[in-house]
Point group: C2
Chain length 330, copies 2
DNA sequence: CTGTTAGCGCTTTCAT
DNA sequence: ATGAAAGCGCTAACAG
């Protein structure tokens, strides 16, 4: 591997001059620049970024931590992230944790060991103490979720209000027996959405049958199974609020298979692309995915440039998208 | 930021001893180890991986280049990659190119500038010359596709045979008017699958109506639109081979909306999770996603450890998965 | 068991 | 316009 020193020996210039042409410094004669550029071409020299990072003590890289690679929810988010990051000259790399704490810790090390300048976390298995401690010394922001009691920046929607709105839609449609398919892990988005759900019922004077609240995983099959369980009870609900579109799609699939699609309404969460085209469409609450990504980066960059800035939470607006999976109670 | 030198000053030991305890070298007294570990805890020291990489000249990192983050096709692939990589002590990071050459080049730089030790490319906008040149000096392997004339390693299925098999299934079902929704970009998988398709028709003595071959993008909406176009011709086919499940799902959606789902058969490609649950299921050809990922890493690691090894292509088996979207011609 | 030291590749200050 | 040299944080060969 040819280094800057090799180039110096080869051209007769010093490493300083080589460095200057590599970095487009104007303080180089035309002659030197031409000769050195020629040598670079001839040798196939590529600057070693590691040496550069060490010297400069930053990498111009951001790490995005994702729980899984197969959720279309992150497509637009990533576009927003990429947009903002590249505009600022940063490059983004992704780490997928498979929801395993041990893998997550390895990626956290990329931050603490100075391989990346900051990190956006879409989902974490760490607790508020871990998170606060890391946030104290390193730039991180939580994306599309927050963590109670953690001293860390985040950009998210108002999950409680959004869940309230979703449930309210069902109520306004005349439904009085409403169930919820929530998240299995006791994490913030699920907690907040459950709370919004319960508040809406309470405000409408509607009871919550305890067997109408089921917690499950964030995927199609889990949603399908949970819905089956929900509908197999003695007094099944006529409407279901799901904590995520993937669950809602699974639920709708079960209803379709049971010929129940016209009698029970389903509303999801996220407004993921599939919810648009599954059957007659899944009614859902939209998260501003692109902006969530964009604003996360903006906030992260701010933290990077001012490490002493206090954590900050920014809340973005949500809205309901009505499609075929919801209809008036009969 | 506390460095190894700070720790040396603080504890009275030399940097060498600090380094030894950080790297779990056995040649350290219990006393020293205890004192140093205590100091590490107290100061919140994290080894700087950049310094380490520079010294060691490897990063124990692999880069996976993906065209997009929203294709569930890559979920299992990534699991296979992660499995093999972590077993070998490597960490994997992902770069998403959004199908833009300019973004792709930035990620390639992570390889050429020594930030990662090797790269797996799931999709590229580079040509065979670029690719060959990079492959000459840096460890790369192409995943789930190959490139004619490029001197580069790849792990893939036999796309031609797979497409042949898929088309043959339609023929065996009695269909004689068969269309294809292919990829818009003139890339290898599409080329090979078109060829397999044509070969199957030819071997069965079936004509290909030129208007029955439409090239489109790899997504739901494009598939839907292309199907509409296909079915709006004067002599629409009774069966359609799609180059990807996403396209097949879009096509099936169109057929469903037009009440044609029982008269025209659809077969997709990839066996992505959605094809299992969309309507009555989409018949498709399975790619061994997990193994594709796993074997890619194994091959890449081999290249890393022996840079002079010649490029190698490994072909993994495929098979057909019959579901509700295909039925006998009537 | 521990310390000294060179050097990985690079940027940048300070001279010239 | 160019070069010499220091130093970013780390590891490892060598000496003791």
């Amino acid at each position: 591997m040819v280094s800057i020193k090799d180039l110096a020996n080869l051209t007769g210039y010093s490493v300083a001059t080589i460095s200057r042409v590599v970095n487009n410094s104007p303080m180089v004669s035309e002659k030197a620049r031409a000769e050195i550029e020629e040598a670079i071409r001839a040798t196939g020299y590529h600057p070693n970024f590691i040496g550069r990072s060490l010297r400069l003590s930053f990498s111009m890289k951001l790490l995005l931590l994702l729980p899984t690679a197969e959720n279309t929810f992150y497509g637009d988010i990533l576009r927003g992230i990429e947009q903002s990051a590249s505009a600022a000259g940063y490059q983004v790399v992704i780490g997928v944790t498979q929801n395993k704490l041990e893998i997550e810790k390895k990626y956290i090390e990329m931050l603490t060991s100075r391989q990346v300048d900051g990190m956006i976390i879409a989902n974490t298995n760490m607790d508020k103490f871990d998170l606060s401690r890391i946030s104290e010394s390193f730039p991180i922001v939580l994306l599309a979720h927050s963590m109670d009691g953690a001293n860390v920046s985040s950009v998210t929607i108002d999950n409680l209000a959004a869940a309230y709105d979703a449930t309210k839609l069902l109520i306004d449609l005349g439904h009085t027996s409403i169930g919820m398919l929530s998240g299995r892990y006791y994490r913030n988005p699920s907690i907040e959405r459950e709370e919004g759900f319960k508040n809406a019922l309470k405000d409408a004077g509607l009871p919550l049958n305890p067997s109408h609240l089921i917690r499950t995983d964030y995927d199609f099959n889990s949603g399908k199974l949970a819905c089956k369980k929900l509908m197999s009870g003695k007094a099944p609900p006529t409407a279901i609020f799901c904590v995520a579109d993937s669950i809602a799609i699974g639920a709708e699939r079960y209803l379709l298979d049971s010929g129940l699609e016209n009698v029970v309404s389903v509303i999801g969460f996220d407004n993921v692309i599939e919810s648009e085209y599954f059957y007659n469409g899944i009614t859902t609450v939209n998260q501003p995915k692109y902006d969530l990504g964009k604003v996360s980066v903006d906030l992260l960059l701010k933290i990077i440039s001012d490490k002493s800035a206090p954590p900050e939470t920014v809340v973005l607006p949500h809205y309901l998208v009505e499609r075929g999976s919801t209809s008036k109670a009969r």
